[in-house]
Symmetry: C2
Subunit: 466 residues, 2 copies
């Protein structure tokens, strides 16, 4: 291969387009594409049309997959030919709502640049990361020889609100989506100077628990010492779901959990210690399984968290009631090979067993679970991203695993049959989903180069490895 | 004494006035004397003036104790002279709010009579019971010889909203309120045909518990397995406050609790069994201390009840947060000789001890506690009421103890130095504090006779005892 491994050709390529990229990025950010708020519908649709045009001008064949929800922007450029692999890139163009608006220092849909940093809703999640993807595709497609691999791109318009339309389309579009490799470019790392590639997201099972003692609230003077207060029943049940060591006590809960291989464990990013965590989040890191280090309990181990409890009156003042009902919301983050439906059932069975005589327990409104996902670190595409990260940063890239869940990834994986990489230059400080979201132009460039370099490597250019 | 023990003279006295009593009762009920809602202020004041006039027409010297709140109506008739004891009667003329109004079958302040039953807000609590008190005083005062004892009457205008003005007046009015005996005529019994006199109300200690883990809510995917979720900390603390047998585990909690004497225990009303309770309240009676029968755990034993819990999101749908804070409201009902301040401190100390590393606990907004009160069953006034109940019903009257708390009683007791009886013909079916409150005219008559007969006995007429 003729290109040097110092990536200067890709840096030059970025510099050549950087002014246009910034202009396009700002145009992209100005669409108020909040998918969860109906008043912004037309802006979400307009944003899809803008993307379609952008990709068409980049030598992509583009379709808008319309349906019950916002369109999926799907494009393909298969000019590399059948000898080259096909890489599917996933991102999304919808954004989170902007509340609380009063905490923004500039209007969320009027992007502003301060030094190297751009502030706007979506600046990182996921318009910033999508911007460097599509800019890299455009720049490479315009080069002599074009794209080094066949590329498909799938831009979701509802990632922030459940990916409803995309999920509905998956089966019908299986042929379109099929690919050898898939890159989800919607993730991040903890430290820009020590890049890591994500090897997994956790799955989820969630239940609502309702404990009922009576038809109406009762006076705690008259009925205290007689009825089994649903608040007491609930806290006793919930307190029994984990032991003192932080281990979840639901029988069978860990049966399918596989331990990390030593190889992966040794390359897991472990930069965040309890002290750093406390400093960054103002919270103590004392809640995980004591048998595992923080890095693992936060990502490679399953969790059980009470997301909400409510029963009786807990506002200002005092109401001496025994409530008729008490409610809890519980979610479990799952790891391979836990099955969301099985975990939900284990949890329900155990809670029934724990429920004291005198109250009843119900589990209304089941929430659809999500399967955990892991990338294979030996996959060519994972290795390509690790290599690109390493070349960009001058250090050996490591791995990390996400604590959160992105249910659409498991669905996309089932549909495409592709090998997966989860990647991105997002950082915690970007305030995704929060006021004053931001992204740096330096990472815009690094992202551009990562995508371009990954595609080169996938196309057969492994120069820097030698 | 010349009066026969069959009470026919008192029945005749009631019949003589019954038409006027009903008329006055309806006039009394028409005042919208809701002390907790400012829009009804003038009606509360008008009601006080009406009572002042009623008592003045009944040979009482009456004062309105004005202050920061609604007036206390205070009257006295000391014509029996220094050889006779002084009995202070306590009741209240303010009423509860009427919400939910749509559940009333007739307007709450337009009393209607259906058969023997009168429906209106305050029909029982406490205008109905106050009506028979003042009617009996008026009728007896008009008799030859007048009242058999010296009588003072104190009618609170804020019992339903904290007795603020009365509490403020207590010290200054100690001389006015001093009495040999005091009857709180604001209580009831479980079964009209098996009358019981109340020997006690429970005291109360209440605390708010706030567990804090972080400054803001955290994402349960990213932070699950790291932080100590305040919801978990809270349920673990709360679940540790009682053991499997229903016994409260707070160290020292039971130290001052005195067991009932066999004499009182043997005469305690025990008509409500678990099956009846379930039928009446639609709730199982499985929540008390297993070492004690229902009757005792509901009244003679202290309790600890979680009145409210809240943390995170527990509404429709699901928010996978780890909340910054979780809150609980806990109240304990106390029995002699538990001290509210000491119990609150024991609870706080124990909760601090139970709080896991990684979260902090606070106890904001302390609620003033109330001391438990017990009557002495050997007191002359308790015996007089027991005798009157017995004569009226033709059965031996028993005792019961209230599960609830009426903090003003302990304050009144401290002020007056009187021996106490807590009495009344209220029944659970009267819907006090609820829509369609009612009282029967039969009990109006029984109440009238109870007061009159008690005063006769206190004045020296013990004919029926022989």
């Amino acid at each position: 291969m003729s290109r040097p491994s110092d990536l200067s050709h890709l840096n030059r390529l970025y510099e050549m387009f950087s002014k246009q990229i910034l202009e396009d990025y700002f145009a992209f950010l100005r669409f108020k594409s909040i998918s969860s708020e109906p008043e912004f519908s037309s802006q979400v649709n307009d944003c899809a049309i803008w993307l379609k045009q952008y990709l068409e001008e980049s030598c992509f064949q583009v379709e808008l997959w319309e349906g019950d929800g916002f369109p999926v922007v799907f494009g393909r450029n298969m000019q590399a030919g059948p000898d080259k692999p096909t890489v599917l890139l996933y991102g999304h163009y919808d954004v989170q709502p902007v509340d609380p608006l009063e905490l923004w220092t500039s209007p969320p849909f009027e992007p502003v640049q301060k030094g190297d940093v751009v502030f706007a809703r979506g600046a990182q999640d996921n318009k910033g990361q999508t911007m460097y993807v599509i800019a890299a595709l455009r720049a490479m497609a315009a080069e002599p020889g074009g794209l080094p691999v066949n590329v498909k791109i799938c831009l979701d318009g509802e990632e922030e609100s459940g990916s409803f339309n995309l999920k509905q389309q998956l089966k019908a579009k299986q042929g379109d989506l099929s690919a050898d490799y898939m890159a989800i470019v919607d993730l991040g790392m903890f430290d820009e100077n020590h890049p890591t590639v994500s090897l997994g997201v956790r799955g989820m099972s969630a239940i609502t628990v309702v404990v009922t003692g009576s038809d109406t609230d009762l006076h705690s003077g008259v009925h205290g010492g007689i009825v089994y207060n649903p608040n007491h029943a609930l806290v006793e049940i919930l307190a029994s779901l984990r032991d003192k060591s932080g281990r979840i006590t639901v029988p069978g809960f860990y049966d399918e959990v596989t331990e990390l291989s030593e190889d992966i464990r040794s390359r897991l990013w472990s930069g965040i210690d309890a002290a750093t965590y406390e400093q960054v989040f103002g919270a103590r890191a004392t809640g995980g399984e004591k048998a595992y280090p923080l890095t693992e309990s936060a990502s490679t181990r399953p969790t059980l968290e009470i997301n909400g409890i409510a029963g009786g009156y807990a506002g200002d003042g005092f109401k001496t009631v025994i409530p008729a009902k008490a409610v809890a919301k519980i979610s479990c983050r799952l790891v391979p090979n836990q099955d969301p439906d099985r975990i939900r059932q284990l949890l329900i069975d155990y809670i029934r067993e724990l429920t004291p005589d005198g109250v009843t327990v119900d589990f209304p409104a089941p929430v659809k679970g999500g399967k955990p996902v892991r990338s294979n670190p030996d996959s060519k595409i994972v290795k390509a991203v690790v290599q690109a990260y390493g070349e960009i940063s001058g250090v050996q890239a490591g791995y990390h695993l996400e604590g959160g869940s992105v249910p659409i990834i498991a669905d996309m994986l089932d549909t495409t049959g592709a090998e997966l990489v989860m990647m991105g230059w997002g950082l915690i400080g970007d305030n995704m989903h929060a006021p004053n979201e931001s992204f740096s132009l330096q990472r815009m460039q690094k992202g551009f180069i990562t995508i371009a370099r990954m595609l080169e490597i996938m196309g057969g250019d492994t120069a820097a490895e030698t």
